[in-house]
Amino acid sequence: MVEHEPALQDPHPETLGSVGRRDSILALVGLCAGVLAYASGGFGEICSDSGVLGDWLRCHGASFFPDVAALRRLGAMYLVAHPEERSRQLLSRLVIDGGDGAIPSRLLRALARDWSNHQVAVVDGWLLARTEARLCAVLYLEEGARA
């Protein structure tokens, strides 16, 4: 059974405000670049337990995602449209489910699979791979859990 997380704040898009072009592009490029950098050996050992995506994000998020605030805003908006996914546990499983290996390489595979299969989500107008959108939602919920 999936436990749904309470909202941190009212995540209505109108109260969250729009994620600007510069914020988003930097954040999204950072997201992909971070994962790619790890996959090419640019980072050291990290946790590879698929059950602890949140821990991994807490440990390494700042290194991987230069504009986490923008990604969190996108994540909050994604959850408005997909309230059934408001669970760190569920999202973690959806984001990194399947396959072996460390989290970044699994994320990378999931992203490639999403784009190839056109598994996308439109959040605040931004076209995201479904995995990206869910990762943003995890970041948002992690922030809530830490608060």
Partner: protein, 534 residues
């Protein structure tokens, strides 16, 4: 010979084998084909040799009761017709455009692309390309800009060719290209300021016996011909058939109330913004307006594959990128100054722009040197950009409720003016959404940039009419169908139920495709000319 009807105060009676009504792309093309043959040709044109608003263009006035649209933007009423402001952007319709597509009601032509291919070949010559027209594959190879590896099951490049410039104009003009030929042709008599007034028909309404044309000063001419061709454009062809059908209580292809229906315009809208942290240089030298090795401009965009259109029930469509300069870069400032000075203006904020150039002086010098040394156009994509507008061009779905009607008020010749009730719908939105989404996803996958879709594509509550504008190509109002219950002309452009009346131009298009229509208008006109000559 080219004459002005107003110079014949006693009027004229003309005998001809073929009477062409309207001297635009279709009328002049047919006249050109028949020049030098044994046929006697009379070409009548409502306007003169130059643009005259009060004496001619004003006759195109009308009203719009559907989606607001311009009745003037896409029509010029003088010798050469709308080719007098033609952009020169050419592409043939695609094979799928001619097919009956079960997911698009009223789609399907009574001919296929292969039937039209030889006429497209000849149309290249008429539109000024000659041997310089190249296939899409050849054009892409010559551009030497490798396309990104986008999913070929979803998207493929689409190429528009721009007609060459002439000494008199920056692109091909029918009046300039063929005016001398028609003036010197012994068998072609061109009458200017000769506005259509009425047909005289046989008792059974199956045959046109003569046409009367009239100048605004009252001078009239009667032309008796064996065959008549309406070449007045997508709105006026329907208007004249409606006028005559009403005046004669039937006939003129309107026995099944089809004349004027299925009125279409191509649709264009901004679908999204593509941004790239690293710059758009990977695509800027491909998806752009580019000068090819033989000096002609080509434009490369993207279109959906026929397979995905069929699988997902979509209309035809294409997208282009319009690159944006960074407003705070010295390059943009330099381009602003260059463009302002080119157009004879002093650019606003000159001091600030010079300051921006000074900050980026190295980059500005590098780019200008590179661009000026190359043959590539500076237009649009000459300056490296970090963002681009994603613009979509859409095929409209044929809709019998979208139509040309007769208004109650009358023009200076006493003929009822035109009234448009233009409509389009949600299939157009769904098509645009799918195209933009696939382009955006593919650009993200291969690392070109990220896309933010426009609100009208993600929220059906946003009115589509606020997002799309009609490209003034007027299409479909005397559509082609072998079934008179579905169309106005048959596969040979002959009006159903009429022995000797034909229609040429974009009004015969059964579906619009997404490509600019002129090349197809010319191809169909050439095909009709062959039939008239036979």
């Amino acid at each position: 010979m080219i004459e002005d009807l107003r110079d014949h105060p006693r009027g004229l009676a003309v005998q001809a084998d073929v009477c062409l009504i309207g001297a635009g792309a279709a009328g002049i093309t047919i006249a050109r084909e028949l020049a030098g043959t044994a046929l006697r040709v009379c070409l009548v044109e409502g306007g003169g040799l130059e643009y005259e608003f009060a004496e001619s263009q004003v006759l195109y006035a009308g009203t719009s009761v559907g989606i607001p649209m311009s009745l003037q933007a896409g029509r010029l009423r003088f010798f050469g017709g709308t080719t007098n402001h033609w952009s020169g952007r050419c592409a043939p319709l695609s094979e799928i455009d001619f097919r009956r597509r079960p997911w698009i009601p009223h789609s399907g032509w009574p001919l296929d692309r292969a039937e039209l291919d030889p006429y497209y070949e000849r149309a290249h010559e008429v539109a000024g390309f000659g041997a310089r027209w190249r296939s899409d594959a050849e054009t892409l190879a010559l551009l030497k800009a490798p396309p990104p590896s986008l999913n070929p099951d979803w998207l493929r490049p689409f190429i528009w060719h721009y007609a060459p410039a002439m000494k008199e104009a920056n692109t091909w003009r029918w009046a300039n290209a063929y005016g001398t030929l028609l003036r010197e042709a012994n068998n072609v008599r061109t009458l200017l300021h000769a506005n259509f007034a009425e047909f005289s028909v046989s008792r059974d309404r199956g045959r046109v016996r003569s046409v009367t044309v009239r100048a605004l000063n009252g001078v009239a001419a009667t032309i008796e011909a064996e065959k008549y061709v309406l070449c007045c454009g997508g709105i006026e062809n329907a208007r004249l058939l409606l006028l005559e059908s009403q005046r004669n209580s039937g006939g003129f292809g309107n026995d099944h109330d089809r004349v004027g229906r299925y009125f279409m315009q191509h649709l264009r809208g901004r679908a999204g913004l593509i941004v790239s942290a690293g710059g758009m240089s990977r695509v800027q030298d491909l998806f752009n307006v580019l000068r090819g090795p033989d000096g002609l401009l080509v434009e490369v965009g993207l279109t959906l594959t026929p397979e995905i259109m069929e699988r997902e029930g979509l209309l035809n469509c294409s997208s282009i990128l319009q690159y944006q300069g960074d407003p705070e870069s010295g390059l943009t400032a330099a381009q602003d100054i260059w463009r302002a000075l080119q157009s004879g203006h002093w650019p606003p904020g000159m001091g600030e722009k010079v300051g921006l150039i000074a900050e980026d002086v190295g980059e500005v010098a590098r780019v200008l040197e590179h661009r000026l040394a190359s043959s590539r156009t500076l237009a649009g994509g000459g300056i490296p950009s970090k963002s681009a507008l994603l613009v979509v061009d859409l095929e409209p779905a044929p809709d019998p409720e979208s139509r040309i009607l007769l208004a109650d008020d009358r023009d200076a010749l006493g003929l009822r003016r035109v009234k448009t009730d233009w409509r389009y719908g949600e299939l157009e939105r769904r098509t645009a959404n799918r195209l933009a989404s696939l382009v955006g996803a593919e650009f993200a996958r291969v690392g070109i940039g990220r896309t933010r879709l426009e609100p009208w594509l993600r929220d059906e509550r946003v009115p589509i009419v606020d997002a799309l504008e009609g490209v003034p190509h007027y299409l479909g109002t005397t559509r082609m169908s072998d079934d008179p219950r579905e169309g106005v002309v048959d596969g040979n452009c002959a009006v159903h139920g009429m022995e000797n009346l034909f229609v040429a131009g974009s009004s015969v298009f059964a579906t619009a495709g997404q490509a600019n229509p002129t090349l197809t208008i010319v191809a169909l006109a050439l095909r009709l000319a062959d039939r008239l000559r036979a």
